[in-house]
């Protein structure tokens, strides 16, 4: 299929209500870290961008939000023009300029501290990372604690970034600065806001 056609097709069939459904799933996932919120495939972006990550991008990004794409997405002209057509979001020159970052290959991604961390005065001005993962059950189990979690929650996302637990600990220490993560799996999403602490599961 031509890039022009690919970039136009595959958006929300029902923009107002689909965006609301996707946002509520993200909001519930962010408010209850570790919970998995199921999400139908509303958007159909060109590969390698997944349907879930594409839906989240359409629901949250627009011309106010510079977007950073990881190298796996950056090389796809179809993905760039699809995001450009449907969201109007400009591409960020560096990860530190990005409001949102879409990452198709989290296992190979750059360090979390390369993204915008916000400032001590405005900690909200940090990058929200959307990581595309194959599932939320087959990776190393992460036991989570923090606001939004009654006692503990556990998720096991596959293909997480290298040294993720150590990197996340550093992210916690920067509080109130820090990045927030939306994990986009094929059948649902889970979130790791900066307040969530990971307890490593020993034996």
């Amino acid at each position: 299929m031509e890039i022009a056609t690919q970039s136009i097709e595959g958006g929300f069939a029902d923009p107002v209500f689909n965006a609301q459904t996707v946002f509520r799933a993200v909001m519930d996932a962010m408010a209850q870290p570790g919970s998995v919120q199921s999400l139908p495939a509303f958007a159909h972006p060109p590969a390698p961008l997944s349907a879930t990550a594409g839906s989240v991008a359409l629901a949250l990004c627009d011309n106010d939000t510079p977007l950073w794409l990881d190298p796996a997405l950056q090389i796809s002209a179809a993905v760039k023009s699809w995001l450009g057509f449907h969201t109007g979001a400009p591409l960020a020159n560096t990860p530190a300029d990005a409001h949102f970052a879409l990452i198709a290959a989290p296992a190979e991604m750059m360090a979390l501290d390369g993204f915008s961390q916000g400032t001590q005065d405005y900690p909200d001005r940090s990058t929200t990372l959307i990581l595309q993962v194959n599932d939320l059950t087959s990776g190393t189990p992460l036991r989570l604690e923090g606001p939004g979690i009654e006692r503990t929650a556990t998720i096991a996302p596959a293909q997480m970034p290298r040294h993720f637990v150590e990197q996340w600990k550093q992210n916690n220490q920067r509080f109130p600065r820090g990045i927030d993560i939306i994990l986009a799996a094929p059948d649902g999403i889970a979130c790791l806001p900066r307040t969530t602490r990971i307890k490593t599961m020993e034996a």
Binding site: G11, F12, A13, D14, P15, V16, F17, A19, Q20, T21, F23, R24, V26, M27, D28, M30, A31, Q32, A59, L60, C61, D62, D64, T65, H99, T119, Q120, D121, Y122, P123, D124, S126, T128, P147, G148, I149, E150, F175, P176, D180, P193, R194, T195
Partner: protein
């Protein structure tokens, strides 16, 4: 690429345009990620004046969907002006189901009360906030209060509470009583009576705060530590009432004083009207209930 046919063609669903909703939704997500921190947002003009809940209305409009059930309360009451008009607004622009029953609502927009009926996981409580900055009356400059939050410099707030004790012998703040969230940010819980502060602590519901004129959104995720500021020798206390509700005999609830005549006659009744009605349906009677309960038959949400 067509929006479902509705009979509200003149407005986008829930009044706000989609770009505004996205902007507010992004602010809500950052607010949830940094509990107690006030996220600036580009508040819009709404078809109601500032001070009538434009912040709460914008938050509700950004999260509400066709399947939601909305309850709106004004000082605990479902049937006073602000509650009735905001409920009618969302019926009109979002065509959503409305209710007065706390347990049936998925979104509860509130002006300064938390319902007596315990909230559950999955419910969202949206507060209308007039002045979101707890330090504002102590330090009028935004540049300074922002720095104080950044440096976690909250000594001034304790001085204010201490001055209360020096003047009145006790902490005289009874509403908008400052809280500390997860041991980090000091937050204004909006002008709720301090009676409701303990309900914020580790509430299973998501709590969102919208200040329209001041252009701030902040949030408390479920199960978040919310501690009312106090001193070891002057611990935080909530209001107590020496008599039960005059209509439903409820105790340990927040009561409003109602003037009955011009000879000093008055009674104390539940501020939460839904809670009071439910109790009277269950057969609870207060000492003034006999002649009044017929007049207060179960009401439909006003249009």
């Amino acid at each position: 690429m067509t929006v479902q046919p509705t009979d509200i063609a003149t407005y986008n669903f829930a009044y706000l345009d989609e770009q505004t909703k996205r902007m507010i939704r992004r602010a809500i997500l950052k607010g949830i990620a940094i509990p107690g921190y006030q996220v600036p947002f580009a508040s819009r003009e709404m078809p109601m004046p500032y001070g009538w809940g434009t912040g709460g209305v914008q938050v509700t409009a950004s999260i509400i969907g066709p399947d939601d059930v909305l309850k709106v309360i004004d000082q605990g009451a479902d049937d006073t002006t602000n509650a009735v008009s905001i409920r009618a607004f969302f019926k009109k622009v979002a065509n959503v189901a409305v209710t007065t029953e706390t347990a049936k609502a998925t979104i509860i927009q509130t002006r300064h009360r938390i319902p007596e009926h315990p909230l559950i996981s999955g419910q969202v409580l949206v507060y209308q906030v007039p002045i979101p900055e707890p330090l504002r009356f102590l330090e009028p400059r935004e540049t300074e209060t922002r720095k104080m939050h950044a440096l976690e410099e909250y000594g001034l707030m304790h001085v204010k509470l201490y001055e209360d004790i020096a003047k009145h012998g006790r902490i005289a703040t009874t509403y908008a009583y400052p809280v500390k969230v997860e041991g980090r940010y000091v937050m204004d819980p909006s002008p709720t009576p301090k009676f409701d502060n303990p309900k914020m602590h580790r509430s299973p519901a998501l709590q969102l705060f919208g200040a329209g004129r001041e252009k701030r959104i902040y949030a408390l995720p479920p199960f978040t530590e919310v501690v009312s500021l106090d001193f070891e020798d002057h611990p935080f206390e909530v209001q107590t009432f020496d008599q039960p509700c005059a209509l439903c005999a409820a105790e340990n609830v927040y009561l409003d004083e109602v003037i009955l005549d011009d000879h000093g006659g008055h009674m104390f009744v539940c501020s939460d009207t839904d809670h009071c009605e439910k109790r009277r349906e269950e057969g609870h009677r207060g000492h003034l209930a006999a002649e009044t309960h017929l007049a207060l038959e179960k009401m439909e949400p006003a249009q």
